[in-house]
């Protein structure tokens, strides 16, 4: 167990101040909005939990929420294994390692509004490489006309954009495993799979936890890329939760319901992340205990 030392708070304090400075006041302000009907800045009426009840009953919101959950789980299911595989196959040292690192990281560095714009052209059958290639292969593909195609395009765009985040985290995690571990495994004659399962995966637990949580919460709040690419369409196929929220906030000119929506949104992310976090920690602990018995 870690030693108890209350003085460690002094090391944490700067972080708490930095974050609280810009986080606590806005959050409290939004809570304040959410219980009022703001007709104009001077005329405000306290309405209690009315907005929350209205938001919870909203059918369209339920649909957007399910769409969002499906999308975020698909993102995790594709990006996490792909990111791990990529990290394992990247060269460990030499100029090749440097080159591959830079190439892999490139897609992360493009501003989100540009990502959507580029894919908008890239996916078009007449003037875009992806669309043209698919048309040449005889695939009937149109991200503007077909709901499934649009959904898959947004997913592919997210995989293209964010898998490097998972890969870089895992790659750095792999590089910090001491060589001695591998030597011991070689002496024991461990198979490649055994090395992955009993040496690499447990050592990656920390970075994987961050990767899963980050990808989950960020994909749950995805806004700019689908907004630019498909505008939420066709129909509602790619209208995810944050876009629905923005439509409400901008469309109604009333901050009250939008603030209540934001808070519920925030609580949903918080709850799901908390479940994921605890589940991953339990799996990790059980894993370590299991390894201890062997």
């Amino acid at each position: 167990m870690k030693p108890i030392n209350q003085k460690a708070w002094w090391l944490v304090l700067p972080v708490v101040i930095c974050v609280a400075f810009s986080a606590v006041l806005p959050l409290m302000t939004v809570v304040n909005y959410s219980v009022q009907d703001i007709i104009s800045p001077e005329r405000r009426v306290f309405v209690g939990t009315e907005w929350f009840a209205a938001v919870m009953r909203d059918e369209e919101l339920h649909a957007a929420l399910w769409r969002q959950l499906t999308f975020s789980l698909a993102v995790l299911a594709v990006e996490i294994p792909l990111g791990i595989a990529l990290a394992l196959s990247m060269p460990a040292r030499g100029w090749r390692a440097s080159l591959v690192l830079v190439l892999v990281a490139l897609s992360l560095l493009i501003p989100w509004n540009v990502v959507g714009t580029i894919w908008q052209i890239y996916g078009r059958a007449d003037i875009g490489l992806l669309g043209a290639a698919l048309a040449w292969l005889g695939v009937d593909y149109s991200y503007t006309g077909d709901a499934t195609d649009a959904w898959i395009t947004v997913l592919a765009m997210d995989v293209w954009h964010w898998t490097p985040l998972v890969a870089l985290l895992c790659y750095a995690g792999l590089r910090s495993i001491p060589d001695a571990y591998y030597q011991a495994a070689r002496i024991d004659g461990a198979s490649r799979l055994a090395v992955f399962r009993y040496i690499q995966l447990p050592k990656l637990r920390g970075v994987l936890m961050i990767a899963v949580l980050l990808r989950f919460m960020d994909s749950f709040m995805i806004y700019t890329e689908p907004f630019v690419l498909t505008g939420g369409g066709p129909g509602n196929a790619t209208t995810f939760l944050s876009q629905y929220l923005t439509q409400k906030a901008v469309g109604q000119f009333d901050l009250g319901p939008a603030a209540a929506f934001s808070l519920i949104y925030f609580l949903i992310i918080l709850l799901l992340c908390f479940i994921l976090y605890n589940w991953m920690q339990r799996v990790g602990t059980a894993d370590r205990e299991g390894a201890g018995h062997e």
């Binding site: 870690k2 108890i4 030392n5 090391l11 944490v12 708490v16 930095c18 974050v19 400075f21 810009s22 006041l25 959050l27 302000t29 939004v30 394992l88 196959s89 990247m90 040292r93 591959v100 690192l101 830079v102 892999v104 990281a105 897609s107 992360l108 560095l109 493009i110 501003p111 989100w112 509004n113 540009v114 714009t117 580029i118 052209i121 890239y122 007449d126 490489l129 992806l130 293209w160 985040l165 750095a172 995690g173 590089r175 910090s176 060589d179 920390g206 961050i210 980050l214 960020d218 806004y223 700019t224 944050s242 929220l245 901050l255 939008a258 929506f261 934001s262 949104y265 925030f266 992340c273």
Partner: protein
């Protein structure tokens, strides 16, 4: 068997790189075309090669100052984030203290707020403080999502270092700052490299907060870019050129931190 595995790995890596680089190739390709060529025909290489889109950016102060503004606040943000996150991550990875687990998770919850409605309070807060349209305002606002990220990443890497190293160092008579800087930091180099790169990246591409908190003097490039969308239509070519240019600073950053990421555990005697 090793040969075959090596070949599969290389094939997989090349396939991924193809998938990753094709959209970027398309963007670079577009940046050397005219708008007319982009929209009228499918061409693998620019037929009417032009530097005009880059010239637009480099000759217009409101364009290139966007890059400078972004670099300034991103650099401030990166330095503050790493500087405050290092000691905190050490505390979380080494000690138990009152509320440690709660504070650790609370940090991450600050990344979970959907921005749309939160922008207005941010605007009010920074207006009240008189920080509007300054680089420091954006740098401070971006701490909300970068500091928790840095703490989480660094904590993960620090927990991977055996605690015996700390204890041995203290017995050997190292003071805490000297131990931390000369012994401990080199051990978690790869974590620091990744954390620094991610802080750079998230702050560099963030649009909503940066746009809300600036108007003229500190206007970031991501916000300048939105002007390519106008009533007269979309200026695809200039947007592609601007997008290509936004990749470059980050590529330089990762080129500098690559050794930190790639080498990792350099000490053999542990």
């Amino acid at each position: 068997m090793n040969e075959a595995r090596f070949r599969w790995r290389t094939l997989f890596l090349l396939a991924y790189l193809l998938f990753a680089l094709l959209p970027i190739y398309w963007m670079v390709n577009m940046s050397f075309k005219t708008n007319q060529e982009i929209l009228a025909s499918f061409t693998l290489l620019p037929q009417q090669f032009t530097w005009a889109n880059y010239a637009t950016i480099f000759t217009d102060a409101s364009w290139y100052s966007g890059y400078i503004n972004s670099l300034i606040y991103v650099a401030i943000n990166m330095v503050i984030s790493i500087a405050v996150a290092l000691p905190a991550a050490y505390a979380f990875s080494r000690y138990s203290f009152l509320g440690d687990k709660h504070v650790f998770f609370w940090l991450l919850t600050n990344r979970m707020t959907p921005p749309a409605v939160f922008l207005l309070p941010f605007f009010q807060l920074y207006t009240t403080l008189g920080l509007m349209d300054t680089h420091i305002a954006v740098a401070l606002a971006h701490l909300v999502f970068n500091v928790p990220l840095a703490v989480w990443i660094l904590e993960g890497f620090m927990s991977g270092v055996p605690r015996e190293i700390d204890e041995t160092a203290y017995i050997d008579g190292y003071s805490f700052p000297r131990f931390f800087l000369t012994l401990f930091l080199p051990l978690i180099k790869s974590g620091v490299g990744v954390a620094a790169f991610f802080c750079f990246m998230f702050s560099w591409v963030e649009l909503l907060l940066a746009r809300t908190l600036t108007s003229v003097d500190a206007k970031p490039i991501v916000s300048v870019m939105t002007r390519t969308v106008s009533a007269s239509g979309m200026d695809w070519a200039v947007l592609a050129a601007a997008g290509t240019l936004t990749i470059l600073p980050g590529a330089v950053v990762i080129w500098f931190v690559r050794h930190y990421i790639a080498k990792g555990f350099a000490m053999g005697r542990v």
